[in-house]
């Protein structure tokens, strides 16, 4: 445990200290993926979108978490021991892109039950989008009462969505935080605790969303929201976004609960269900046994 804590603390420190560094990519750990993707990417796209790629490459990603740290945070990365989970998220990304026909979108991730599953899923989906170096993703924590992304990313944030809504002097850039994952930024719930449903119905919120979506055509926005069956906020949020992804954790929800959630979302926005938290079944192999 101490080791993990050490690593996390180190990561936090470095991120905080280098928070304002501009454009310098620490390419030690991420170069492999980048190179790999460069190789695989079709040449046409490479020439066409070269400016975008350059722009994204120059983006300030802050202090990048290495694979080990990502693993500890249960965030997918490209060099996982068990590639199955990462591949699942990649498939999910492909499905979403197919659905949107390549256009960027706002997708809300919600769950039927309370818990970390929707936050975890939204984090990993946005991470999967950020694997692609021609895309960026933005994660907004809309679970104002009970924000989870900060702790999941092991971050301490100051200004967030509520602050932006309350104080019109705050710029969008100040609430967008680096996550330590390349091409993934995050807007936390915020420090203000005076929370009203009206935030999400306000014009400012709509403007924010439109602005975020319009600013970069390769930015994909994910909203992490409280369980839809328990929160009115989430239903309002569903109005603001293009797609809704319903997270159903294994062995937690009855059919009726899912039906209620689907009804609340409405069939036109619901993209589908992500069935998560399936218990891991150990596969015993001889080599593992000997190693053990």
């Amino acid at each position: 445990m101490s080791k993990i804590e050490e690593a996390l603390n180190k990561a936090k420190q470095s991120r905080n200290s280098n928070g304002t560094d501009l454009g310098v990519i620490k390419s030690d750990s991420s170069s492999i993926e980048q190179n790999g993707l460069n190789h695989l990417a079709p040449k046409k796209i490479q020439t066409q979108d070269i400016s975008t790629v350059n722009e994204i490459a120059l983006m300030d990603n802050g202090d990048i978490l290495d694979n080990k740290e990502l693993s500890e945070l249960k965030i997918i990365h490209s060099e996982m021991d068990d590639e199955k989970v990462a591949n699942t998220y990649r498939d999910l990304r492909t499905k979403l892109l197919q659905k949107s026909q390549g256009k960027n979108f706002i997708a809300m991730v919600t769950s039927c039950v309370d818990g970390q599953d929707s936050a975890m899923t939204s984090l990993n989906i946005s991470t999967a989008f950020s694997f692609d170096e021609r895309k960026t993703s933005l994660l907004i924590d809309c679970n104002l009462n009970n924000p989870k992304l900060d702790s999941l990313l092991n971050m301490e944030t100051d200004k967030g969505l509520t602050d932006y809504m309350e104080n019109e002097s705050i710029e969008v850039d100040t609430i967008m935080h680096k996550t330590g994952i390349k091409r993934l930024k995050m807007i936390p719930a915020g420090m203000s605790r005076e929370i009203a449903t009206e935030y999400f119905t306000s014009l400012r919120m709509r403007k924010l969303m439109d602005g975020l979506l319009a600013r970069y055509s390769d930015r994909y926005i994910f909203l992490e929201s409280p369980p839809i069956t328990e929160s009115a906020d989430t239903r309002i949020l569903a109005e603001l976004c293009d797609y809704v992804i319903l997270v159903v954790p294994y062995g937690t929800s009855t059919e009726n609960k899912i039906k209620d959630a689907v009804e609340a979302i409405g069939s036109e926005k619901l993209l589908g269900v992500v069935f998560t938290d399936i218990p891991e079944r150990p596969r015993f192999s001889m080599s593992k046994l000997f190693k053990f």
Partner: protein, 516 residues
Amino acid sequence: MQLPFENVLRVLYGEVFARRNFIFILFSIISLSIVAVGSVWPKKYTSVAIIIADDSNILQPLMEGTAETTRVTNHGANAREILFGDIIMSQILKDAGWLDNNPSEVEQAQITENIKSKIKISGIGRDLIKIETRDNDPLRAYITAKRMSELFVKEGERSKINESQAAYDFIEKQVNEYLQKLTVVEKQLEEFRSNNPDARPGTDTEVSDRIRRLTTEIERTRLELRETFIRRDSLQDQLSGEAAITISMSREGQYRSKIADLQTRLETLRLDYRETYPDIIRLRHQIEDLKSSMGKEIKQRQTAKLRAQNEGAAYIDEAILLNPLYQQLRGEASSTETQIATLQARISEMNKMLEKEYERAKRIHGGEAALSNLTRGYQVNQEIYQDLLRRMERARVSKSLDEENQGLIYKIQEPARIPLIPTGIRFIHFAAAGIIFGLSVPIGLIYVMMQIDPRIRFSQIISSGMNIPVLAEIHQYSTNADKRKLEINLLLLAIGYVTIFCIYGYVGWLKSTGQL
């Protein structure tokens, strides 16, 4: 919605793995408690003796139909009746050492019931009787089985002999009874016969035959009598019309007729011839001669008549003769009279005989009913008596068969042995049950929970059952720290299982060496 079994199994596996600690705890509780029960479970020893009831020996075909070998259809039930009897049970109590502590009567009865409950007697097939005794003490089980089989064979022989003896005695008694009856009937029959000599079979027809014959005879005789009367009458008629005497032609008459005859011839000749014709002369001479002879005759008769008158003697004229026809008729008439008398006598005689026969027939009819009654009784008794006599002989042979131990024989086919290995539920069974139940109960509980719990564990229910697209199925993602924790957990579980098996082994070893 019907889920593929493979999916169910996969999910079950995941659940089982996730709840491995729960399974281990339940496993250790269940298996250790079962082993604890097994360690104090008493050992049971079983000794088996098999008795063969051999009723198909070489004698059977030889004695077929003559002797009845004692047959027992249900050997098992029979054996139970014999073995659980007081005689054998008290003997067993003594021999197996139950009476060493001098138990009271009540205790003895309890022990007897207890032993009975531990003894299993069953018929195997048709001929075999299996005696199984169970006891905590192998030696006692052995002694009980051994003594039971021995006593059973002995008792079986005894009862068999008794049975055939009883059968023989019974039949003999019956024979004697019938013999007496038969004798009585025979005597009655004899008496009746001597009183009624006519009472023979067939007398009846004989008598009626005789009556018929007599009747015809009488008829015939009567007819004859009537005929004879008619003949007598006609004879008398003839007799009255006939002269008793006829006058015969005398010598004088003969001469005269001769003369007349010659005279006629002379007359005839004179028609043609002269007097001188020789024939006429000879005829004349002859007539002359005849005339002179006639005169002489007349003269002789007159002299004889005169002399008879003078001397007073009867004179019978030669010329007078008795009529022969009259004579004959008279004779016939008299013989007819005789015949009539004879016939009449015969008729009266025959009538008398007929009457006698009638009387006899009447007597015969009365006796016949009594006779047939007596005869019938006699025949029935005789038949039964003969049958019984035959049976008695067979019973005698059967009895000697049984006495010489032929016929149904109880033999000890497989003698009891001292059991070395305990039977029934042994420790190894408890150990196996501990493992099986220890694993199957928690896994079964998890399975039942899965089935009952309405919360969704299968993505197919969402995709196929509810028609909502499932975009992805995401498994739990473990960090290195989680993996390390899992490894430690698995190691601890392995140690736990090994410990439980060690306990198994230790308890098993203690059991096998008899320390527990």
